[in-house]
Structure formats: structure tokens, C-alpha cells
Amino acid sequence: MSDTKFVDENSLIGIAASFWQQYSTKTPQKLKIMDAFSLYCFILVIIQLFYCTLVGDFPRNSFLSGIFAAAGAMIINICLRKQLNPETKYMEISNERAFWEYLAAMIVLFLTVINFLG
């Protein structure tokens, strides 16, 4: 931390800047990829909710399956991220086992979504 600070650390912008600096230097590459995917799913949820407030949720099943796909993928991804990070691990299983469980959960999610989509 030898560079001069141009922003005040206690303000909102300061918090965001220091968060971004810590995040981009300290997290490993794999976790960053997972975060990118989670962010992408979250954006999809926001877009769908925005569309629903405009037009209404007429085909209720399609609306639910669309939101459920994106939100569910995001949640499952976050669970795997927690497992893979040694600080936030919550179960005593190996990383490979966690990854297989992740794949199984995603497959079940996608099957449900496609069934409900019509």
C-alpha cells in the first residue's frame, strides 16, 4: 500500500475503491471466473424482472422458469465458490467432490427449467 490515496477511505467511494483493489489482487483466478458467471446470471434476473413489470407475467410458467434458471444457477455457483474458498468452506468434503455435486445440481436445475418452460 505504498501508492498515495486520492480518495478518503471512510466515504462510500473510498470503500468501493478499496474493495475493488483488494478483490482484484487477493482473489484467485478461478474464483473470479465464478464471480463473473454469477454476475451474468444476476443481470439476467434483473432484465427479466424489468420486462415483467413492463408487460406483466402472462405465461406464468415461462416467467417462473426463466427467473428460476438464472437465479438458481447463481445460487448453486455461489455455493461452489464458498466450498472452494478455504476461508468460507462449510463442509468437510474435497474440492472434486464439491465440483461433482455442483454439476449434478446444475443438471437437475436445467431439467426442471426445460420441463417448466412451456
Binding site: I33, F37, L44, F58, P59, S62, F63, G66, I67, V113
Partner: protein
């Protein structure tokens, strides 16, 4: 010789086929047969008439549970009838018609009998008086041109008491010949005096009553300036069930694009076609002819507790009245109802039940344009997932 015999027998029975209807005429005044000879001539042309004295014991309306006569003509008297009012009402309930020719001094029996039909006689001893529409200045012999349902062109003469109708609205009681606006009677100053009133029951039996029997007597029937002759003909035709009789048959309902009649059930928002044939009896040609309704008034109701549609039927070819419409967005048990209560015609009451089912699970729309964002997002997450897997697993 045998040919002569057959000819004679043929002539004897020519006017009386075995299935001709029988009319019973009850009266206790033999002078009636002379003064109403034209009326009885008209009756005998189409019916077999039995003349009996009211007070005699030689007639039976009912014999071993079967009605002996098809119609009844009653000349009222000052005495009571041997037959009870209940038996006369049973006669009417069985679908047979009654014609009551009253007089101002008829007994309470006949006045109460009139009350069962929604008509009421004016007070004892009164007669209708009109100083403006009358014959030769005699204000007791009044004329009117106010004739409904029956087709009479010339003015009709009345002499004697008048009738009154129920003061509330019914669809069954008609004033066939009503008094002119300047007529009054006793203490009744209303111009709703009725000379010939009628009631048609829900079983389509007809009851016609007049306040005085002079309206059908020879001295008025023979006068060709008056409409009484036509009135008598029309009363006999309408009152005894020859004219203005309707019949509805051949009810068809089907899907608009198929030929299966009366399918098991319909679905929401399907197109449906309904048709029915309505005939009217033509007494001159002795057959059923297609009924032509003026001003589009045969109305079909599509009802489930409340009518969802109430639309007039369109006249099609022949006797067909038809309509095609879209079943509403509600499922349940519906009825096609026709409630045709035109005054003077028989009542048509028809109800046919159908069921309307909701969509099956595979009958909903597929690939709706509205749902495209949701389709894109679902497959988008899967595509993103695949991309993520590749990036994750190939990352060192």
C-alpha cells in the same frame, strides 16, 4: 245398389271424419240455439258438436278417466253448473280449450270461475255504456275497433257487461277485444274495459271469455258492416287451437367446423353453431309451414346461472333459425334457452344442456412471443454455464 249405399255412407261421413275434435256446448236456455245459429253453423263445419242442457245429467266430461270432449263452450246461467269448478279446471289443465260466453246476470259460480283465469266480471247488473261509439245512438250497444291478436278489420259490436283484467303484468292474459276510449261501465270509469278476454296457460290451453253472449248472436253476425262475423271465426280458430300454434323441433348444436351433431362437450372459446326449426300450423292448408317471425324476436340465451349471450336467432332456409357464436371464456354447464312468449302464439320454452370444458394441458399456446425473454434467459444461463465450465476447467 251397393254403389248407391257407399255413396250415401260417404256423404254421411264426409263431414265427420273419425278423428275430428268434439265440442260440447252447454246452455240452459233453448232460445240460444235459435239466436246463435250462425255461430253453431261455423262450429259444426270443423267440429263435431254435442248440445246438452247444463242442468241435465246426460253428459259426462270425463268417463272412466278419459276426457270425452276436446273443447267446451259454456253459456253462463244464473244457476250453478252440475260440474264442479275443479273439474273444469282439470279439463283446462289437460290442454283442452274453453270458451265462456257470459252475461251480466251470471251466477257467482261463473264469476269465480273467471277469476281463476285472471279475468274479472264487472258488477252484477252493469253494462258498458258509450255515448260516442255506438249504434244508432243507443248508448248501450257499443262498438270498438280495438282488437288485438285476432285479425278483424271492421268495428265490433258489444252489448252487455264488460270484463276486467288483472291489474298486474302477466304474459298470459290478453284483452282480445278492448273497449274504445270513451266507454265506461257502472262505477268503472277506466277505459280498460275488455269485451273479449283470453288466457293462455303454460300448457298452451286457451280460455276465451266474453262479458255478454250477444256479441256472437245472429243479429250482429248477419250485419256485414260489422266485424262480428270475422270475430266469431277468429275466436273459434284461435280459441280452439287452430291458428297461431307453433312447434319447434330438430334442435341442432355442433362445432362450427365439424358435422358431429351434439358433441359430448365443448371447449372454452370454441365456435359453436345452433339451429332450430320453428313451424306454424296453417289451418287452411292443413299442414305445418315455416314460421316467419316479425322483427327478429326469437332470442337465444346461453345461460349458466346468468345469461352470457342473449342474441336473436337469424332466419335461415325454410323453417330454420340459426346462429353461430363463440363460447365465452368460462367453463361449466351451460344451457341453450329459448323463451318465446309472443302474445297470441303458443309459448315456446326450450332448454338444452351442454358442458364446456377448460383447456387440456397441451392445448395452451406454445412459443408465445411474449415469453421470448424468458426462453432466452433459460438457454442463456445454460450457454453461460457451458462457457464457464470451459473457462474454469482449462484455467491453470
Amino acid at each position: 245398389m251397393i254403389k248407391f249405399l257407399i255413396l250415401i255412407l260417404g256423404l254421411v261421413f264426409a263431414g265427420t271424419p273419425y278423428n275430428q275434435k268434439k265440442v260440447l256446448v252447454l246452455s240452459d236456455n233453448p232460445a240460444v240455439y235459435v239466436s246463435h245459429s250462425q255461430f253453431f253453423n261455423l262450429l259444426s263445419k270443423t267440429y263435431r258438436v254435442d248440445y246438452k242442457n247444463i242442468q241435465s245429467n246426460t253428459f259426462n266430461l270425463q268417463l272412466f278417466g278419459e276426457w270425452q270432449y276436446d273443447h267446451l263452450v259454456l253459456f253462463s246461467t244464473t244457476n250453478d253448473l252440475k260440474v264442479s269448478t275443479q273439474e273444469l279446471l282439470d279439463f283446462y289443465d289437460s290442454g283442452r280449450n274453453i270458451l265462456l260466453l257470459g252475461s251480466t246476470d251470471q251466477s257467482k259460480y261463473f264469476r269465480k270461475f273467471l277469476n281463476s283465469f285472471g279475468l274479472d266480471m264487472h258488477e252484477y247488473g252493469t253494462s258498458v255504456i258509450d255515448y260516442f261509439n255506438n249504434i244508432k245512438g243507443n248508448h248501450n250497444i257499443v262498438t270498438t275497433t280495438n282488437v288485438n291478436i285476432l285479425k278483424v278489420d271492421k268495428p265490433v259490436v258489444h252489448q252487455g257487461a264488460g270484463l276486467a283484467m288483472t291489474p298486474y303484468e302477466t304474459f298470459q292474459v290478453y284483452g282480445l277485444v278492448r273497449g274504445s276510449e270513451t266507454a265506461f261501465s257502472g262505477s268503472n270509469l277506466s277505459h280498460n274495459i275488455i269485451y273479449v278476454g283470453a288466457t293462455q296457460g303454460r300448457n298452451n290451453a286457451r280460455f276465451v271469455a266474453t262479458g255478454s253472449w250477444e256479441i256472437l248472436s245472429d243479429e250482429y253476425l248477419n250485419n256485414s258492416n260489422l266485424g262480428n262475423f270475422e270475430l266469431t271465426q277468429e275466436i273459434i280458430r284461435w280459441g280452439f287451437g287452430q291458428s297461431k300454434i307453433l312447434k319447434a323441433e330438430n334442435l341442432i348444436h355442433r362445432r362450427l367446423d365439424s358435422d358431429d351433431i351434439k358433441p359430448y362437450n365443448y371447449r372454452l372459446r370454441e365456435d359453436c353453431y345452433f339451429s332450430i326449426d320453428i313451424f306454424e300450423w296453417d289451418y287452411q292448408k292443413d299442414q305445418w309451414i315455416p314460421y316467419v317471425s316479425t322483427d327478429n324476436d326469437v332470442i337465444l340465451e346461453f345461460v349458466m346461472l346468468d345469461p352470457y349471450y342473449r342474441v336473436p336467432l337469424k332466419k335461415g332456409q325454410g323453417a330454420k333459425y340459426e346462429l353461430s357464436f363463440k363460447i365465452p371464456d368460462v367453463y361449466g354447464v351451460f344451457q341453450f334457452k329459448i323463451n318465446y312468449l309472443k302474445p297470441g302464439y303458443t309459448f315456446l320454452k326450450i332448454a338444452e344442456k351442454i358442458t364446456v370444458r377448460p383447456f387440456r394441458h397441451d392445448e395452451y399456446g406454445r412459443y408465445l412471443v411474449q415469453a421470448y425473454p424468458y426462453y432466452f434467459s433459460s438457454f442463456g444461463t445454460m450457454a453461460g454455464f457451458v462457457v464457464f465450465l470451459i473457462a474454469f476447467l482449462l484455467n491453470k
